[in-house]
Amino acid sequence: MAVLLLAEVDNGELNLDATAKAVTAVKPLGDVHVLCAGAKAAAAGETAATIDGVAKVLVAEDAQYGHRLAEPTAKLLVDLAGDYDHIAAPATTDAKNILPRAAALLDVMILTDVSGVIDADTFERPIYAGNAVQTVKSRDSKKVLSIRTSTFDAAGTGNSAPVETVTPAEAPGLSEWVEDHVAESDRPDLTSAGIVVSGGRGVGSEEDFKLIENLADKLGAAIGASRAAVDSGYAPNDWQVGQTGKVVAPDLYIACGISGAIQHLAGMKDSKVIVAINKDEEAPIFQVADYGLVADLFDAIPELNEKL
């Protein structure tokens, strides 16, 4: 049977990277039908149809799907579930919000943050902040899973899958959107960037985070942060990398003034090359770093910036 893949649609636009990575993950499970739901979703559907390996695109346009509130989108998934053995989505905050609700309505367990697909019933997922990897076999009739995108390569594009529209379900009317507080930025997206420069508590202040931003801009990189940096107000919450933030696996991750707590490592230790700049040579971050520089970041980062 086929796989229903809920695409990440934000403001009418497809998150191509996250969706294409999820396509790669679920492709071995059967024909992939991508569902684009939104107040506007037709354009996202057109883009989804170009992803290699997609057999069909379903577009559900209705005001109730506009801000990815959990209740209406979960209901839509349940209405469509009859034709599918697997229901999946990239593990974004939207999917984390929606999928468990859909799973409970279907009376099945959820598999979150799947990092490996073994067969139709068997999956790998990290537990304990990535300190262990569990292989689990589901006994449920349907499998609902979110995909850890950082472990899969994005499927290519060039396809032209057929697009169908689906009739919206009746709106549950339990919650309404009030506003988004989203910072616009020209920088690459944290979860898909090739290079990430991250700052921690060692950066010391919101003003000094400019150092991190300058280095990131020089490298064309995205910016990350530790929880301590976010909690201290140096960086916004959506920059947090870690067990309870974003999971990234860029080609190059540069950790500046970050000690390397397991909760932080959970979000970046699959990066291809890790650089750590820390003035404490005992900092645990050096245990995962390919290149460690024991230095004061206030000396090292400006020098780096200058010599790049």
Partner: protein
């Protein structure tokens, strides 16, 4: 209004996790256990609502082994009024799945009729991030996940949520299930007098059978393994050496 706060007993977040040699799971025998950090934040939120007069009673619920009594005593010492322990297993290595936990919590909600459930966004052991959403579904209630600000106003709550792009505010109908994120508040430490007082607060013990809920797992754990190790790196002496390595050895810039 009553508020229900589900709290989970988990490995302390400072403990180094060890995978058992036979691949059957993570070693939890003789390991320091604590309340799931997000659940401390949930307790704090509920207790503050009580202190502000918006809530009459805060009930903490835990599902798992008998030792979760300690976790509930911590919740009571923080300021919860009473506690319910549902003993669902006698093996510390058995994790009750979010779907079963949600079913048990639904049964408790049916019995206690709270106007709000505040839970953690994620248990730091199984990292599921699912129970609150599942409970909300089973109840047919509204849900607000990853909350970093909660304002209750009569029959609605306005919740600011931490999402991938930044923040989102939504307005949900009460009753609701709200799951909390890290920056909602700073949980208090229980004072010694409150720890003593907590010993006298009511703690009911139940079983899944009392609620007619089947907790048998849907997922079979085939094996648990260590994550792949990274090769040891090197310490470079200078920014110049770092740049040279990144350009010529790693080829990433």
């Amino acid at each position: 209004m009553k508020v229900l706060v589900p709290v989970k007993r988990v490995i302390d977040y400072n403990v180094k996790v060890r995978v058992k040699g036979d691949g059957s799971g993570v070693d939890l025998a003789n390991v320091k256990m604590s309340m799931n950090p997000f659940d401390e934040i949930a307790c704090e939120a509920a207790i503050r609502m009580k202190e502000s007069g918006a809530v009459e009673e805060v009930i903490a619920v835990s599902i798992g082994v008998k030792q979760a009594q300690e976790t509930l005593r911590t919740a009571l010492a923080m300021g919860c009024d009473r506690a319910i322990l549902i003993v669902a297993t006698d093996d510390v290595h058995t994790d009750i799945e979010p779907l079963a936990v949600a079913k048990l919590l639904k049964a408790v909600v049916d019995a206690e009729e709270p106007g709000l459930v505040i839970c953690g966004k994620q248990a730091i052991d199984n990292d599921m991030n699912a129970t609150g959403q599942m409970l909300s579904a089973l109840l047919g209630w509204s849900q607000a996940t990853f909350a970093s600000k909660i304002d209750i106003d009569g029959d609605h709550a306005t919740v600011k949520r931490e999402v991938d792009g930044g923040m989102q505010s939504i307005k949900v109908k009460m009753p609701a299930v709200i799951s909390v994120d890290l920056r909602l508040n700073e949980p208090r430490y229980a004072s010694l007098p409150n720890i003593m007082k907590a010993k006298k607060k009511p703690l009911d013990e139940k079983t899944p059978e009392d609620y007619g809920v089947d907790v048998s797992p849907r997922l079979e754990v085939v094996k648990t393994a260590e994550p792949p190790e990274r090769d040891a790196g090197i310490i470079v002496k200078s920014v110049d050496e770092l740049l040279d390595k990144l350009k010529n050895e790693a080829g990433v810039i």
